[in-house]
């Protein structure tokens, strides 16, 4: 194993592999930066190029791209409050407030550093614990997915700033929005109002751009008489080291976020978006100063970014051992493996170990390359905040149109995006945060499929209730959901007791 590792490392740094890795990482950061361009799409775009190169070079480049994108999405999340990919939703919660305070670079450095840690921790687990961890992937059946979605919904309490009631309403609205289109289970045509274009349902990225970026533009315009800029950034030396030192003092936060990311990445039905939201929620829960979250703390950014970067090796875990991709982007990597005649399973670790270890170690190396690029680039990206609003406002609108069109080449998506933009602006005025709505949209399909598939299986086995409540993993998830839902009250009484003595 050690000898193989040394050979694999040697291969990665050999010409031209390292050049491909660097290029892939850079391209990943660019793609991650641009809302509407996803890592999955960029990976697919590269697949034909990998035909002409040996399997190893191609896979190294793909892993660089995937890692790069998971950092790149933090850049627009920080600067313009728009997640570059759905995995950066939770990054916006603290990244943008930081930027407003003139601390955009702090947020970007925190993102780069925690992405590095997330990538390293996840890869270590992929390397040493693959076979037992991959079993988690298949432990999840319909019932478990349903309860996991319920657990995910308990995050609403953290996401809804102000009124929990409005947060719950937002979540329910998101769940309702997720049912638009052809029903995945029963084939019903739902809420399309006669438009065939709506049969595809509401694309998450379109909703994200609509709910996050356009309301931000309108808010910028509304505040224009007060602020001609989003924030002011002036580069100061020493920010990089200061942020890294501060985060290094919180190993618990980084480790917990990376573990959450890896585990969620392993589960095939859940990806980076859920990982970062769950991780953010746990960061708030375990923090000694939860009130700072949402006001701009690098801990919030770190929690989200460490988790979504750990998803990459997590998603590869069941892929390499079982042939089950843990995320849509991993599915593209599976396709590339198959096109090169490599079949996931034990053979990958024996017959093709050279390629497999090169793929695994390239995750580590590209995390390092990404970190250096991110660190160096942060002061330049952060300067974007100094553009006057009179340029930024039309610019963001313009990019929103490109992003929402690019995802499926459907002009109705652009119109939907604008509709969500106005809705999002109006609902902010009414005290709704876009977080719960988006959470509902993400978890809706998981909850519905889990519920209906579980009902069919339960009916076949005799009792639906028995199926949903008696399985061990389901029981754990139910317990977690209850604790999570009651946590705010438990924490309050705990603090009261501490006060008493």
């Amino acid at each position: 194993m050690l000898a193989q590792a040394a050979i694999a490392f040697g291969n990665i740094f050999a010409w031209p592999n390292f050049a491909f890795l660097t290029l892939g990482t850079f391209a990943g950061i660019v793609v991650g930066c641009l809302p509407g361009l996803t890592a999955t799409m960029a990976l697919a775009l590269l697949v034909p190029f990998t035909f002409t190169m040996p399997a190893m070079e191609g896979l190294i480049m793909l892993s660089g791209l995937y890692i790069g994108a998971m950092y790149g999405d933090a850049i627009p999340a920080t600067l313009i409050n728009t997640p570059g990919t759905p995995s950066a939703i939770a990054t916006t919660f603290d990244g943008f407030p930081l930027a407003k305070k003139g601390m955009a670079q702090h947020s970007l450095v925190a993102a780069a550093f925690s992405s590095l840690i997330g990538g390293l921790v996840g890869t270590a687990m992929l390397l040493f614990l693959s076979p037992p961890l991959a079993k988690i992937a298949i432990k999840f059946g319909p019932g478990e997915y349903f309860w996991m979605a319920i657990f995910g919904l308990t995050i609403i309490a953290t996401l809804s700033t102000g009124s929990i009631l409005k947060g719950l309403i937002g979540g329910a609205l998101g769940l309702l929005l997720s049912t638009v289109g052809i029903s995945p289970i029963a084939g019903d045509v739902r809420f399309t109002f006669g438009l065939p274009s709506l049969q595809g349902g509401i694309e998450l990225i379109v909703a994200l751009i609509g709910f996050f970026s356009l309301p931000q533009v309108l808010e910028m315009v509304e505040q224009y008489h007060l602020h001609k800029h989003i924030g002011a950034f002036s580069p100061k030396p020493g920010i990089n080291m200061q942020v890294i030192r501060e985060l290094a003092r919180k190993p618990g936060l980084l480790l917990r976020s990376s573990l959450v990311g890896t585990i969620v990445g392993i589960i095939p039905g859940a990806g980076g978006n859920i990982a970062s939201l769950v991780s953010y929620n746990e960061a708030v829960r375990w923090s000694s100063h939860p009130e700072q979250f949402g006001q701009g703390t690098i801990e919030g950014v770190a929690a989200s970014e460490a988790a979504n970067s750990a998803v990459v090796p997590g998603a590869l875990t069941p892929l390499l051992t079982l042939g089950i991709p843990g995320s849509p982007a991993a599915a593209v990597i599976l396709g590339t493996l198959l096109l090169h005649g490599l079949r996931p399973g034990p053979e990958l670790y024996t017959e093709f170990s050279e390629i497999t270890y090169a793929l695994i170690f390239s995750l580590i190396v590209s995390s390092g390359v990404m970190f250096i690029m991110g660190l160096w680039g942060s002061q330049w990206f952060a300067r974007m905040i100094n553009f006057p609003v009179s340029f930024l406002a039309p610019m963001i609108t313009f990019l929103s149109v490109i992003g929402s069109y690019a995802i499926r080449n459907n002009y109705l998506d652009v119109v939907t995006m604008l509709g969500f933009g106005f809705l999002g602006y109006g609902s902010r005025k009414l005290g709704f945060h876009p977080g719960p709505i988006v959470l509902g949209l993400i978890l809706g399909p998981m909850a519905e499929q889990g519920l209906v598939q579980g009902m069919i299986i339960g009916r076949a086995s005799g009792s639906i209730l028995h199926y949903f409540f008696s399985r061990p993993l389901s029981a754990v998830l139910i317990l977690l959901s209850i604790i999570s839902a009651l946590w705010p009250f438990l924490a309050k009484s705990y603090r009261r007791q501490i006060k008493r003595g």
């Binding site: 319909p142 084939g187 065939p196 069919i456």
Partner: protein, 318 residues
């Protein structure tokens, strides 16, 4: 100065004439893919992309139009100008079933002219390696004794898998519980985890997981080289050949000479032994049906499926 203007004008005229007289295809071609990147339709298009560019002498741009189980992309194809510059990957039985079942799917089966069908994915019925059912007979016997107790996973509702399930129920006179999943990955994950007792899966997934599954019956005319132990449904006396077929189509009204050029390009690619071998090793059956053969095949399938749906009283249900 005046001479310069004249020369430029001449160039312009000559250029536009040359452009109009240039052999088809003079413009880049758009290849619409209706399913996720990394999915089989996408990977096949990616495999063909460089070869098509070489054969046709123009660039081919793969464009994703995902949603509605493919209907969004096919509606886009049906509504695009019939100039031979837009084509889309097509899947059977999807393009037959959707217009029949949804009322308005955004396109009709006749609005798409197939250029060629190049790949079949037979559907097999599989159980886990450690399952007590050794043969289809064991499976059917259990199902007849315990109606509805066996859960069978498949991809989608009213899809190729679902229809295979309905056919199987009818031919064996059993009642099974069909559990629809949203794609191959979640379906196989649920199967390997033991959450469903059997699955109807595509041949490539069966080949990929061949160490962990036992294929009780396989949807092809003859046995498949990579799954030699799997008998066909026909061998077992069930008159069904469930399969998902892939090809490529253009909008109705595209001039015949342009169709012929594109059709020839795809057929030439399918003649290559390296492409055929690659397909087989991944668990696909290479096809090489020309436009006329494909049209005839689609017509036959449409009649067959129409009859099945009518029997189940499903047409225009929504």
């Amino acid at each position: 100065m005046r001479r310069l203007v004249w020369t430029l004008l001449l160039y312009l005229v000559a250029f536009s004439l040359a452009a109009s007289a240039a052999p088809f295809p003079a413009k880049p071609l758009t290849y619409i893919i209706c399913f996720d990147p990394g999915g089989q339709s996408d990977l096949e298009a990616r495999r063909q992309q460089p070869l098509l560019e070489e054969l046709l002498g123009t660039s081919v741009i793969v464009q994703y139009k995902i949603g509605g189980g493919g209907s969004l992309g096919w509606a886009e194809l049906a509504n695009s100008p019939p100039d031979g510059c837009t084509m889309a990957g097509i899947n059977l039985p999807h393009i037959i079933l959707q217009p029949l079942l949804r009322g308005d799917a955004g396109y009709s089966t006749e609005a798409i002219v197939p250029l060629a069908l190049f790949q079949a994915t037979p559907i097999g019925l599989a159980v886990a390696k450690d399952s007590p059912w050794q043969t289809l007979d064991d499976f059917v016997a259990y199902a007849q004794d315990h109606p509805g107790a066996i859960t069978v996973g498949g991809s989608g509702t009213y899809s190729g898998h679902h229809l295979a399930h309905l056919q199987l129920e009818k031919l064996t006179n059993t009642k099974l519980s069909y559990v629809p999943f949203t794609g191959a990955a979640p379906q196989v994950a649920a199967f390997l985890g033991g959450h469903i007792s059997a699955m109807l899966a595509n041949s490539n997934d069966l080949v990929l997981h061949r160490d962990k599954v036992r294929v009780l019956a396989f949807g092809a005319r003859e046995r498949f080289s990579l799954l030699p132990d799997a008998p066909t449904f026909l061998e077992l006396g069930l008159d069904m050949i469930p399969s998902i077929d892939r090809g490529v189509g253009v909008p109705k009204g595209t001039p015949l000479e342009q169709i012929a050029i594109l059709e020839q390009a795809f057929l030439t690619i399918m003649e290559r032994p390296d492409i055929q071998e690659a397909m087989i090793s991944q668990g696909f059956v290479p096809l090489r049906l020309s436009r006329e053969e494909s049209q005839r095949y689609i017509r036959e399938m449409a009649e067959e499926y129409g009859a099945i749906l009518q029997e189940l009283n499903l047409t225009g249900a929504q």
